[in-house]
Symmetry: C2
Subunit: 197 residues, 2 copies
């Protein structure tokens, strides 16, 4: 089955917004979604980008724009009180779910994202992230956050993402074609309809 590769950071509001929509987009065109959590800290080191949230002018606009974009698309979103956060714990849990329950990764991703962007839970904490995953039915999640093999897997996947020129979140690929941002999903829809333009 063909797929859409979905790269996202758990601290990214636009990653969250896109995550709620990419499953339906893929399904409309007979594709699966491959979920790849990344760590923007490592990515920004590769590109020389400052952290957007703390940039003068742009950081403030981006928070405002995320809330407005959520309203525009009818997706519930609350900006968390702690922002941004480090995404290692939820990213490792996501790798673990992909290894052990590959059909249920979307459910895990959305549970973690909603805990952070709706319920203001600090999922950078391994205990909090594991509890959220546990409530969604993934019981070994806390162990996954400390598992050396999972840590290595995530590191390798982030390096592979950068090698594929992923520089932000969300970044999505239809075959070899890259799309950055929630606001490229209209172009993705046409790309899937027409085979490219």
């Amino acid at each position: 089955m063909k797929s859409i590769d979905f790269y996202f950071d758990y601290s990214s509001p636009f990653g969250y917004l896109a995550a709620t929509r990419v499953g339906a987009l893929a399904a409309r065109h007979g594709r699966a979604v491959n979920w790849y959590p990344i760590l923007l800290g490592a990515v920004f080191k590769a590109t020389g980008s400052p952290v957007v949230a703390t940039m003068p002018l742009k950081g403030e606009y981006t928070a405002h724009d995320a809330l407005r974009s959520a309203r525009f698309h009818g997706i519930p979103l609350k900006l968390p009180s702690k922002f941004p956060i480090a995404g290692q714990a939820p990213a490792r849990i996501t790798c673990w779910v992909r290894n052990h329950a590959p059909g249920r990764v979307e459910a895990a991703v959305l549970a973690l994202y909603r805990a952070y962007f709706l319920d203001d839970q600090d999922i950078s904490s391994p205990e909090v992230a594991a509890r959220v995953a546990g409530q969604a039915g993934f019981d070994a999640a806390l162990a996954a956050t400390q598992d050396e093999a999972i840590k290595a897997q995530l590191k390798t996947e982030v390096e592979a993402a950068i090698a594929r020129k992923v520089f932000g979140s969300p970044m999505m690929f239809i075959d070899a074609e890259p799309f950055w941002g929630l606001d490229r999903m209209d172009q993705m829809e046409r790309w899937l309809q027409t085979g490219g333009f």
Copy 2:
């Protein structure tokens, strides 16, 4: 008459693409457009942003995305051989046109943008920019690029833009509401239709 304030850099492909559409958007809602050329070099100094075009990974994607976005919207675009360029000369000409022929600013902006993004003319050169403006009917343009009052006006306007939290190109305001990027014009359309959301 109410307006849309349109801030743009002459080196910005998304500024060009949005410039070709904002006039019609404003007209559909009974508004005028105020055209404010800015200089991204000064703006990026205020935000600490690197120059996007030369950023690893992101620079290459952005050029690809500009061409694809142009095709998506059906707007002709060729990436210029010299990119990015300094925008002082065309920006000063634009200020001069606004002072002397306020009803014809859009024509001047589009002539300059098209010279750069369609005909690969280096409009950072005062002579080239003035020739383009001359062909569009603005005869005193070369003098405007060296006029001390115009230079001061542009400097003041760029500072005012930064004070208004303009951090990129295109950046557009509907009353006090800021929108950054060609891809926010769908939100702008709904904002104008509904009075905000």
